[in-house]
Symmetry: C3
Subunit: 160 residues, 3 copies
């Protein structure tokens, strides 16, 4: 009766940009290290984070992102020149290297190895034509009901 209940966290990951790929992975790996049972439900653009064809080249658009910390001041106009979107990830990758964070593929592996359960959203796969075999090994497939089943009993639910 007095035993403590297993703590749980349920994350929905919907963004496929490099900057918004880190928060679910940082939070899930930290939680796993604290013995929190954690799932990440990848849906919409978030599925790119566990798509083997895409997860090593996620992009940050400097445009429409006025809050991006820019070492070099960068007017919006530059963001629309062809090829300039790549500037975002390069700056961000250098900043991330400066604090020794793993790459996205490394981070996904770390999460899976530490017991984080990863689920790709079935309707998103159907809608975008992504196949089960495009996904990182160890990722399962499910719908909103599977997410809700877990989340209704979780201590933390986040939509990222």
């Amino acid at each position: 009766m007095a035993e403590e209940k297993q703590k749980k966290m349920a994350i929905i990951s919907t963004k496929g940009t490099l900057d918004m790929a880190y928060p679910p992975l940082v939070l899930a790996s930290t939680a796993a290290a604290m013995d929190v049972e954690t799932i990440i439900f990848f849906t919409f653009y978030g599925v790119d984070i566990i798509n083997k064809k895409k997860y090593d080249k996620l992009q940050v658009a400097p445009i429409g992102n006025p809050a991006m910390p820019s070492p070099v001041p960068m007017p919006n106009i530059i963001g629309i020149l062809p090829g300039m979107t790549a500037l975002g990830p390069i700056m961000m990758k250098n900043m991330i290297k400066g604090i020794n964070w793993p790459t996205i593929p490394e981070f996904v592996d770390t999460c899976l190895e530490s017991g984080v359960k990863m689920i790709a959203c079935t309707p998103t796969l159907e809608m975008t034509g992504v196949k089960k075999e495009d996904l990182v090994d160890g990722v399962s497939v499910g719908g909103a009901a599977e997410y809700l089943d877990f989340a209704l009993d979780a201590n933390i639910s986040l939509f990222i």
Copy 2:
């Protein structure tokens, strides 16, 4: 004493883009089908989702959205040509049609019919000049305190 407590979910919906209009509606309708008492608090751009003048023509901007799944590769530059913003919703609508999802107006009705409570944020209405009569019938009006009252006792809280 041993009766199970009514499960609850509280969603804050702040984005008025076509892609971010679906998650609150999918989650709320799925939760309602699982007998979860659900509210959606629409604030900031999210109010467009229940604004009868706007909810059938929500937009997706291809620009600044590098993670958007694009059947046709599309450089950022194209996103800024006049009229091109419309490309986003057309592609997305076709993808959604492919998996037979309802339109936003249909989905809002489905949620209301299945008992989801929808609340429009009072300060947002004042700030944008949207009137109560512009909102879908059945939507009520309230502030952050009303949301918090419900959410403090909910199993799942999400900010979308």
Copy 3:
């Protein structure tokens, strides 16, 4: 035994745009007024909200933001002209003035005075070169584990 447990809310604030700076501050100050113990964990671009060099000039980009309520219809193209990004905040500031909301610096102070605990993310500070002395007085510094410790026991967790 029958005493009610202290209610808690844990917010993660990740966006440094003017529009997404308000939700954490509105929710936290409302919760504090309802005697809810509240923390805001500022990470990624969200750190700008408590950065004294930046928090009085947060930007809204009209571009890539098709859902922004625009008093004047504004094609996406205008958003990329140099200087035009400033249009977003001016329009938004006027709308906010219309409903008498405090400015961001005023709102941050109000939250701190009413007991909201504010934590800036250590890795974000390292990554962006922001110093502790750049932050508003009263803001502390911590990592994801500190956030999780609090959030695992909170009634509401939000990722903004």
